[in-house]
């Protein structure tokens, strides 16, 4: 028997049918007024109806429309935990997950969108794996399964035994998204059962042979083998870059910029000032970054430390872009938004991305 937590964000995805994008903050009241219907019940029921190993599960659910309301009609053993008010909020999500963790759940299944994923990340971190059921207006984070049904398959895979992988949680600025601007940055990573073909951005055909973990390792090896000892390497955020420092036996700030020189760490979680200081000190320098999954940003989101000034000093020719093929091939282009039009223009055009030890992709950079 597996103890599995289920939590539903009842208001996620409500804006869609009435043309609003997302329900963060007070927007959902506007959605209700416009006659929006909840979509999470349908998604949650879909999920539950497709899980095969139901007899292997001890569900722990939140009360009412955060879980309990949908479970009753299915033949699954469950236990209630916590209390929720009439109008639920992110705080309820975080609190109840906390109680579930104390109760010893081994996997958390949640239904919601990018905002919910952030709340889950705040509460879960890397303590246990999660299965993310997409129910938002537009769901960008790669932690999500492609559908409720795929999520059910991932739950089954977890019960039957599978290894884990890290996937991105993105911080989508809903205000910007409402204005048709895509503004997002990396918020963190959640652990998910590694069933690539059922995950949103990690989707990589199994016939391609390698999992994204393997290909990150291969890219890292290639980068380290070709790294010039006399060059300062500024490493941006993300697990792809962490694979590089892992290979070198060095630590990495997952969401920050670190610097290595001659196999040593010479800068940790640097801000612009720190980077500029290093740039003065070293003659030869490179920036290594990876695009954010789903939207392809290489500068301007998630790595604000790489300011226009930093990019100007390093130069376009000294920017190395790396990324697992499974992530990069799913991007229609790379994006930059540094806040400096001239730098954005300089970065625009075609650029090569290292996706394997002998494989590169030519991608267009747009601003």
């Amino acid at each position: 028997m597996k103890k599995i937590g289920l939590i539903v964000n009842p208001i996620a995805g409500m804006g869609g049918s009435v043309g609003l994008k997302g329900t963060d903050g007070g927007i959902y009241k506007k959605a209700l007024k416009l006659g929006a219907k909840t979509v999470t019940p349908k998604r949650t029921k879909e999920l539950l109806s497709y899980i095969k190993n139901r007899n292997e599960i001890n569900l722990v659910v939140a009360p009412g429309k955060m879980g309990e309301a949908y479970v009753r009609e299915f033949n699954i053993a469950f236990k209630l935990i916590g209390q929720v008010p009439e109008e639920t909020s992110a705080e309820d999500t975080r609190r109840i997950i906390g109680e579930m963790l104390n109760g010893g759940i081994e996997l958390l299944v949640f239904v919601g969108g990018d905002g919910t994923a952030r709340d889950v990340y705040d509460a879960v971190g890397s303590k246990i794996p999660v299965v993310a059921v997409p129910s938002g207006v537009k769901v960008f984070s790669s932690v999500f399964a492609v559908s409720a049904r795929a999520a059910a398959e991932i739950v089954d895979a977890f019960i039957e035994g599978t290894n884990l992988t890290e996937e991105e949680v993105l911080d989508i600025d809903e205000n910007a998204f409402r204005d048709n601007r895509l503004a997002s940055k990396l918020y963190g990573y959640l652990m998910v059962p590694n069933v690539k073909k059922l995950l949103q951005a990690g989707k990589e055909a199994s016939s391609m042979g390698k999992s994204s973990v393997d290909s990150k390792g291969e890219i890292a090896r290639y980068i380290v083998e070709n790294m010039d000892k006399e060059t300062l390497c500024l490493l941006g955020p993300g697990t792809t870059l962490k694979a590089i420092t892992d290979d070198m036996g060095l630590p990495k700030t997952l969401l920050g910029v670190d610097a290595v020189y001659n196999n040593r760490l010479v800068g940790k979680d640097l801000n612009e000032k720190g980077i500029l200081r290093l740039l003065k000190k070293y003659k030869s320098k490179k920036i290594i970054v990876t695009p954010i999954g789903g939207n392809g940003f290489i500068f301007g989101r998630g790595s604000k430390q790489f300011t226009p000034e930093v990019i100007r000093l390093v130069g376009r020719g000294n920017i190395i872009i790396v990324g697992a093929y499974g992530k990069v091939s799913k991007l229609d282009c790379l994006r930059v938004d540094t806040g400096d039009f001239e730098i954005d223009k300089l970065l625009s055009g075609h650029i090569k991305v290292i996706v394997g030890k002998k494989e590169e992709m030519v991608m267009e950079v747009r601003c």
Binding site: V39, R43, A150, S329, G356, E360, M361, V362
Partner: protein
């Protein structure tokens, strides 16, 4: 499953004429024998005439896929290989495994234009450029004659154009092989000729390729050989089937657009469709319709659908409608 509707492999939905099938049956009655080399030579001659090239440039194979693999094996050792992404998947897979350096140019929606400058700047060292033209799965013509000439002017570059769908697009570079020794054109009888089950492909090889293929001799299965000879002897039947397919392509494309789906212009016997429903391929499969889900190889939300018969296409259209209706209700 017997009742599956196969719209996933870009096959011709119509059987070839009775004579072609009877020719295949004739081949089966000699099952204990290898094909007669004289007949193989005859087929080469027929294909040369059909393509308007000389017979010495024609190399036979069991499907065009083995030809592409052979080219990659032989020519990628001292050359970097340049392809577009997406592209015919088995070729890409083969390149991924064997080449020493692979450059893939990502095609960007909605135009999927291939920028000639990228190829020019990438071919500054010995290169093998492989392009499917029209491209599978976008259905688009990626390079024109001018671009091909520019690429071929660089004698350090070998250009291989995969023309699996040229009968549908009407665009071919076969006539340029004579003049450009560094060009080869790969073709197949599996698509427009409706002979996928016979697996006959052929290479129209430029001079630079011929040596490498001097020992590549395909003893084709007899039934395949005879059906191919019969088909190429009088290829007039493919015209009608192509016309039907194109008519269906335009009709189905229009209907899909009316449903609010994004459909891209195609010069082939398939359509590229963007749906916003990640599970659409799977849901079609549940309804007995097979299509190709591209989210595993390329951008999410794209599927490739081959044109079937009128009846099959109608079932596909009504299934799509149903899936969209249910999805929109939920959102």
């Amino acid at each position: 499953m017997l009742n599956e509707i196969k719209l996933n492999m870009n096959e011709m939905p119509y059987l070839p004429p009775r004579e072609v099938i009877e020719a295949a049956q004739k081949g089966l009655s000699n099952l204990n024998r290898y094909a007669n080399p004289r007949d193989l030579e005859l087929l080469r001659g027929l294909l040369a005439a059909y393509s308007g090239v000389s017979k010495k440039n024609i190399i036979l194979s069991t499907g065009s896929d083995p030809l592409l693999r052979e080219i990659i094996h032989v020519f990628s050792r001292r050359r970097k290989v340049i392809m577009v992404n997406p592209s015919f998947f088995p070729t890409v897979q083969c390149a991924k495994e064997f080449v020493t350096k692979l450059i893939k140019i990502q095609l960007r929606p909605p135009e999927f234009n291939l920028d000639a400058d990228i190829i020019t700047s990438e071919t500054n060292e010995p290169s093998l450029v492989i392009i499917d033209n029209p491209n599978n799965p976008t259905g688009k013509i990626l390079i024109d004659r001018e671009m091909a000439k520019t690429i071929l002017d660089n004698k350090n570059t070998l250009l291989v154009v995969d023309e699996a769908y040229h009968e549908f697009s009407g665009v071919t570079f076969a006539d340029m092989v004579e003049e450009h020794s560094n060009l080869s054109v790969v073709r197949t009888l599996d698509k427009a000729f409706g002979l996928a089950g016979a697996r006959i492909g052929y290479l129209i090889a430029g001079e630079d390729f011929l040596d490498a293929f001097s020992t590549f001799y395909a003893f084709l299965p007899q039934s395949s050989l005879y059906s191919a000879m019969e088909a190429v002897k009088d290829p007039s039947y493919i015209k009608k089937n192509i016309k039907l397919t194109i008519k269906e392509r335009e009709r189905v494309g229009k209907k899909l657009k009316e449903m609010g789906l994004q459909v891209y212009p195609s010069t082939t016997n398939f359509l590229l469709i963007k749906s916003n429903i990640p599970s659409v391929a799977r849901e079609l499969k549940d309804k007995g319709i097979l299509v190709l889900d591209l989210s595993n190889q390329w951008l999410p939300d794209y599927i490739r659908v081959s044109l079937g018969t009128l009846k099959e296409n109608n079932i596909f259209l009504s299934s799509m409608k149903e899936i969209l209706r249910i999805c929109n209700k939920g959102e």
